[in-house]
Symmetry: C2
Subunit: 381 residues, 2 copies
Amino acid sequence: MNPAARALVSRRMTAGSAYGEDVPEVETGRRDRLAAQLAARDIDAALVTDMVNVRYLTGFTGSNGALLVQASGAAVFATDGRYTGQAALQCPDLPITTTRRLCADLLQTAGRIGRLAVETHSLTVDAYAALSATADPGTTVVSLDRAVETLRVVKDDGEIAALQRACAISTEALQQVLAGPLKGRSEREVARDLEWRMFALGAEAIAFDTIVAGGPNSAVPHHMPTERPLARGDLLKIDFGARVDGYHADCTRTSVLGEPADWQREIHAAVRSAQQAGVDAMVAGAAVVRPDAVARQVLDEAGWLERFTTGIGHGVGLQIHEDPFVGPRHPGRLMDRTPVTMEPGIYLPGRGGVRIEDTLVVGTGTPQVLTDAPRELLVVG
Amino acid sequence: MNPAARALVSRRMTAGSAYGEDVPEVETGRRDRLAAQLAARDIDAALVTDMVNVRYLTGFTGSNGALLVQASGAAVFATDGRYTGQAALQCPDLPITTTRRLCADLLQTAGRIGRLAVETHSLTVDAYAALSATADPGTTVVSLDRAVETLRVVKDDGEIAALQRACAISTEALQQVLAGPLKGRSEREVARDLEWRMFALGAEAIAFDTIVAGGPNSAVPHHMPTERPLARGDLLKIDFGARVDGYHADCTRTSVLGEPADWQREIHAAVRSAQQAGVDAMVAGAAVVRPDAVARQVLDEAGWLERFTTGIGHGVGLQIHEDPFVGPRHPGRLMDRTPVTMEPGIYLPGRGGVRIEDTLVVGTGTPQVLTDAPRELLVVG
């Protein structure tokens, strides 16, 4: 393990208390920023029910909870009896209501609410109907839109540190696995091996279902690992990541078993160039569509654009896919301190495919690439 | 490993094709049963958008898809371009539409729909609004309620076989870990060890976040593993499971490091008796509230009922928690071939807790307990 990776990993391994180490210190500033938006939009209170958003605003990591934030900044958290102790530990700065009727009881705590915002992008139709039935008849229910997701786009130091650790663990584990031997092992075995190494290095979880795809399977963008044994001449595409303190690493590398064929070198080189161009275009202030356009242009000039059939990038954080989504139809501009992926690929059905993906943090200059492992076409065995 | 476990595990490890082994053969009968319900409820078509329900009715395991089932039994599946190949392999018996506008394009395939049912318990408010905007003005949108979840309650042979394998892997891995050594290892280390063994035995994934809770932490019902080292005198509560072919095992055992104290023996014996009584009451045709009442009565007579603060059981299958939910307020009767858990506990804050949980299949006689590992208070070291 290189010293930087060791330092990042060891920080993780020495963590101590019952829950504290699993969540970065939650700034009450996050709730204050939401409250300011509510005030600006003439909304009296927001009911946050999406569990990722609840975690972001409270630090609570359980599976059931809701948060009411008023435009004044006052906030109350509700969860059920299973989580009484955990909520007290994780949300020491919040009044906590323990109940089975999270939303209804939260609304009771707030007094009269003229305009109430709810998360219509994640609240179900049935939950919305139940909420509307319990809300005061004088309350107008509006959409919060993706206000909390938008707050989450720009990360603080603690979030970026967690992502750094997740990415360091991921790339270290990958390099251990690529050191081999690989020939004759199944995709599934390699996937499990990689996951075990991430856990051993301090991952709290696997960020998403690990993709290990050999030979023709590498042409399937979201292939699930099978019992197929890796063989000489295979392209080997591995798309994977570790999760640390709730934050998700996302990395893809493609190597080859034995001496690469010309077509393998060619498509890998095209993806490599496109990916580098895309990474270089990830600059704060640039249009979100810009890195996509730049990377596509490289693929187009190499004659491979029509074989690129997946998305080119997405934000990463408490979710593996989150705002901002990067692509040809996505509005807005890239923000400083925003972690995103850049992941062009070329997929030749029946033959093989190449994808190279990094998790990087957008800044005012050259982006900070967190998944720092070799990108060239590695010959493995 | 005992021979039965070996047989179950080996079936898994020899599986072959790219996707076929990850899903039990999907009966078109499932869609036919849904269609019959639609016809009976005077509904022309159902739009299934919950991804677990989509998987159940199609075999598709990707992350984005939707299914339109008409009362005639005709069905069309839609997914996006990432999953074209996978959908063709997993849903060979269905017409497939590749699109980004899943719901709108599915509705286009169906001609005029008078009454359309949607999954209001999982469809978001925003998705519902978008759907309503694209539906024909002459279409009345109603709730499908939990029709597919209700179909899923009674399992077929393939589903029960997958659960059996998941449970066999889980209990085998637990017994390996409990063989020790355990003293001095952290809760996290033990959790990772257990998970690695489940993967090595053929689990495709961990069914849910593994709970390993030692000493006072065992009193926290949904404790997350920490760096706390296990020490002599600790109760050690482990709640965990493997996933196989999409089906989730759920098992809890509580042991003790070194000679148990009297209070540890007492609460373990009370939970053991309550759990056995609850399991014995899991009989097809019994009211769903019955096993809960029986188990609670045992805890009550032992004087510990007020220290039981969690749910007593739930269905398991493609979800770790699914219908039927077992408890004091749950309507209906238990059905033959329904896998459920039975998991009473006693939690003494600051001291420790005991939970014993099995996954079992309800039948007409004695239920078939799938998590077949010792339930007595094991002394481990």
